[in-house]
């Protein structure tokens, strides 16, 4: 039978956070412009942590002029940095501080900056900076308001064969029309003529550039390209078209020339998002496979998945969630927040796995008094366990309502039990784990058994409990059954099943109870260490 005990604990659970914040805010009362010993700028901290050479006032940083957060605009670069205190945004370095978020500031509004054949979704100042840095003309479009749309609108200029005479030789460069015109002016080459859509290897242009000059990878592009004998780019590599005159005459998309299917093994049309890119391997340019192999399994390039980390299946002390990432043939490990404050979630669409670390919303599980709220996945990560109630009234009666709205000896506990720093003094592991403390009162009726066998007597229902139960309108048999200790057998021996059930409940609260840690090592205590047997009779005798 459950003791009347956790009533206060359950009810004030919400208060724990409140008390915490109150305690913290009572302690952290100063806004330090700078923390001592080269510490960070603008932190709320106790006065003794503030650097004396800087300002500090007994208020929150948001209320001060020097540490109020706003946006720092880099007037040279045109970048906007949010959550910046005024003091760190130096005017001498080109900084300009404005109150508010970047979204609210006209200087930080983003638009599409088209530079050459590239695009960037940046501020207007940044666009001008990039323009001067790359020495290219820009087109800043405020009508494009999404990054994807901006990138999609980047279009390379129409290219073609720029034919000219140099040292009495008719030669060629693959350029845009504008580049060709600029070359004519700047280089002084004679007979410069632009042939849109033509490759320099086109026979009819009669230049000294011919087909089959090899292959190459191009920076910023994924495909393998043919080169002509002058070193100009031609179309995407296709082993079936090495001797195709048309393929060496027109740029793909012109004159019926098409590029091969990326899936073909004879094709150089590599695609990063499909998992291949151009790489030079032993002097040859090939579509390199970017997929990964990890622990005997194949993963596609760009896939992310949750690791099967040690002890994570049972959320053992010390265990942690990890996300694995496969990019460019390499697997990297991203740990989620420690103490299982983040969990890894994974989904799969058409065999492509995607995973993410997301916050473990366990904090208010213990305070839920009904199954519906407890299992509301939008609000929290909790589950209902049976056999014990954290929330009880002053009589020890459960306050938890099951799915049918009936009172049940159930509790709402974290779905992924969190980790605690139980080895640290002053942590809240003890207070949280104590939610699982329970007492099982066994009433014995003295009689012949005691005299004969030396036993305590026959186990009977607790009278007070039965009376209270009857007062609530319970039937006699039901009340007696409810009020009879369930932690022992008929002979008064502690049941292993009860012990296990209670320990499971403790473990489900967090890093509580008795369990192995994530590497299989035993903890400080065994379950038996948690069980304290006491007897009123013995106490009286003593």
């Amino acid at each position: 039978m459950m003791n009347k005990k956790n009533f206060v604990l359950g009810i004030i659970l919400f208060g724990i956070l409140l008390i915490n914040f109150t305690l913290v805010s009572a302690q952290v009362s100063y806004c330090c412009e700078k923390i001592k010993d080269g510490g960070p700028w603008c932190m709320n901290a106790p006065e003794n942590e503030c650097d004396d050479s800087y300002r500090s006032v007994p208020t929150s940083c948001e209320a001060t002029s020097y540490c109020r957060l706003g946006t720092c605009i880099d007037t040279q670069e045109g970048t906007c940095m949010e959550n910046t205190p005024q003091v760190t945004c130096n005017v001498e370095d080109g900084g300009f501080w404005e109150e508010g978020n970047a979204d609210e500031l006209p200087q930080c509004q983003l638009g599409c900056c088209l530079i050459g054949d590239q695009a960037a979704f940046v501020t207007q100042t940044r666009c001008k900076t990039l323009s001067s840095l790359y020495g290219l003309e820009t087109n800043y479009r405020t009508d494009i308001q999404s990054e994807m749309q901006c990138i999609a609108s980047a279009s390379p200029g129409v290219k073609g064969a720029c034919v000219f005479e140099r040292e009495y030789q008719k030669t060629c460069k693959l350029l845009t029309k504008q580049e060709c015109q600029e070359m004519e002016i700047s280089s002084g080459y004679s007979n410069v003529k632009f042939h849109e859509g033509y490759l320099c290897s086109a026979v009819e242009l009669a230049t000294n550039c011919g087909p089959r000059g090899g292959t190459t990878c191009v920076e910023g592009k994924d495909e393998v390209y043919f080169l002509d004998t002058c070193g100009n780019l031609a179309n995407v590599y296709d082993s079936n078209k090495i001797n195709d005159a048309t393929y060496w005459t027109y740029i793909a998309g012109v004159g019926g020339v098409t590029i091969c299917n990326p899936a073909s093994t004879t094709c150089g049309n590599c695609d990063y998002f499909s998992g291949t890119t151009c790489k030079e391997v032993l002097g040859k340019h090939v579509c390199e496979d970017l997929s990964c192999e990890y622990e005997g399994k194949d993963y596609q390039h760009g896939e992310t998945w949750c690791a099967k980390a040690k002890g994570i299946k049972d959320n053992l002390p010390g265990s942690r969630y990890f996300r694995m990432v496969c990019y460019n043939g390499e697997v990297s490990v991203e740990p989620c927040a420690d103490y299982r404050q983040e969990v890894c979630i994974q989904s799969e669409v058409n065999t492509f796995r995607t995973a993410a670390c997301r916050v473990n919303m366990w904090q208010d599980c213990y305070a839920q008094d009904n199954a519906k709220d407890c299992t509301n996945e939008d609000k929290r990560d909790c589950k209902v366990i049976e056999g014990f109630s954290i929330l009880t009234d002053e009589n020890g009666v459960s306050l938890f309502l099951d799915e049918d709205g009936e009172t049940a000896d159930n509790s709402c506990v974290p779905l992924h039990n969190p980790g605690f720093d139980f080895w640290e003094e002053g942590g809240d592991a003890e207070s949280l784990c104590s939610l699982g403390t329970t007492m099982c009162i066994i009433d014995y009726e003295a009689g012949i058994f005691k005299t004969l066998g030396g036993k305590r007597g026959k186990i009977v229902p607790n009278e007070e409990c039965v009376d209270a139960c009857k007062d609530r309108g319970g039937e006699k048999d039901d009340c007696e059954d409810e009020c009879t200790a369930k932690c022992v057998d008929e002979d008064g021996n502690l049941l292993d099943s009860w012990e296990e059930e209670m320990n499971e409940m403790c473990v489900s609260l967090g890093d509580c109870g008795s369990s192995l840690n994530y590497i299989g090592k035993e903890g400080y205590y065994d379950t038996n260490d948690f069980i304290v047997m006491s007897s009123e009779e013995e106490d009286e005798e003593n």
Binding site: I16, I19, N20, L23, V24, V28, I35, G38, P40, W41, C42, M43, N44, A45, C72, D74, Q76, E77, T79, C80, M81, E82, N83, T84, P85, T88, C89, D93, G94, G95, N101, A102, L133, G220, D222, Y272, T277, G302, V325, Y327, N328, S332, E334, P335, A337, D338, Y339, Q341, E342, A356, C357, Q363, P418, F420, D421, G427, D428, A429, S431, L432
Partner: protein
């Protein structure tokens, strides 16, 4: 028999001497004809002041850049976390739980430029001293005015300009207004991505790494969350293994409720 052998030996020695003499003469002629090229190849030619400075200070600048790139943009981090035996500076930080971070270095590019400028001033002094001495030894009158050092992070390169006007006089006069050391490095690009990540950290308390790897195919972004709520970001250019790493502590979660 012995006499005969001795005569032969003498004749052989004379022949060897003649061959050696011819070789010396030929080499002399070759050196006379091609001395500038040979000297340059062997590094014996007098360097121009520009290349003298470039070779003198280039490696130092490279070392400073490499060091500060692993330390979050500071050569002497003051507020840092130890990661992989490196002091990694916090660029965005909060000492509280459940709160997003406060930007510590909003003008990161400018900060890095000034860090390099400060650090190379001593190296610059040594290099220009040595340049002066070198030319004086060769009979030049050297007039060097030491001005400012300016470091610029630009796309794909870092340019260090020494505004140190120099006049060398020996018969005629050679004038140099300034000296530029250009390094091929994409720190500018890595800093731009860092700023973007920091804005996400400041706003949401986290940043998704794969977004950047989808945009920049040669970029590797790693995120290593530490037990105290700190996140270390490591940006690596896959082409040249250039790295930039920094720390952020934002929206940290305590063990338990954090009482």
């Amino acid at each position: 028999m012995k006499k005969g052998v001795s005569k032969k030996n003498k004749k052989g020695q004379v022949t060897i001497f003649i061959i050696l003499a011819i070789m010396v003469v030929v080499m002399g002629i070759l050196i006379y004809l091609y001395y500038p090229q040979i000297a340059t190849t062997l590094g014996l030619a007098p360097q121009s002041p520009q290349s003298f400075i470039q070779s003198c200070i280039e490696e130092e600048i490279e070392n400073h850049i490499e060091k500060l790139s692993l330390q979050g943009g500071s050569l002497h981090p003051s507020h840092y976390i130890m990661y992989d035996n490196q002091k990694v500076e916090y660029l965005c930080y909060t000492n509280e739980f459940y709160k997003t971070c406060v930007m510590q270095q909003p003008l990161l590019k400018e900060h890095i430029e000034s860090e390099i400028e400060k650090e190379i001033s001593d190296n610059a002094k040594d290099c220009f001293d040595s340049l002066e001495e070198n030319y004086k030894r060769r009979g030049y009158t050297v007039n060097l005015r030491r001005g400012e050092i300016n470091v610029e992070l630009l796309p794909k390169r870092i340019i260090t300009t020494f505004d140190y006007p120099l006049t060398l006089t020996k018969g005629g006069a050679e004038k140099y207004d300034s000296f530029r050391v250009v390094l091929n490095n994409n720190l500018y690009e890595l800093v731009s991505i860092t700023n973007s990540i920091l804005n996400l950290e400041a706003r949401y308390g986290d940043a998704e790494t794969t977004i950047y790897m989808n945009y920049y195919h040669d970029l590797k972004v790693e995120k290593k969350k530490q037990s105290d709520g700190t996140t270390i970001y490591i940006l690596t250019d896959r082409n040249n293994e250039n790295k930039f790493q920094f720390a952020s502590r934002s929206l940290a979660w305590p063990p338990g409720y954090g009482i």
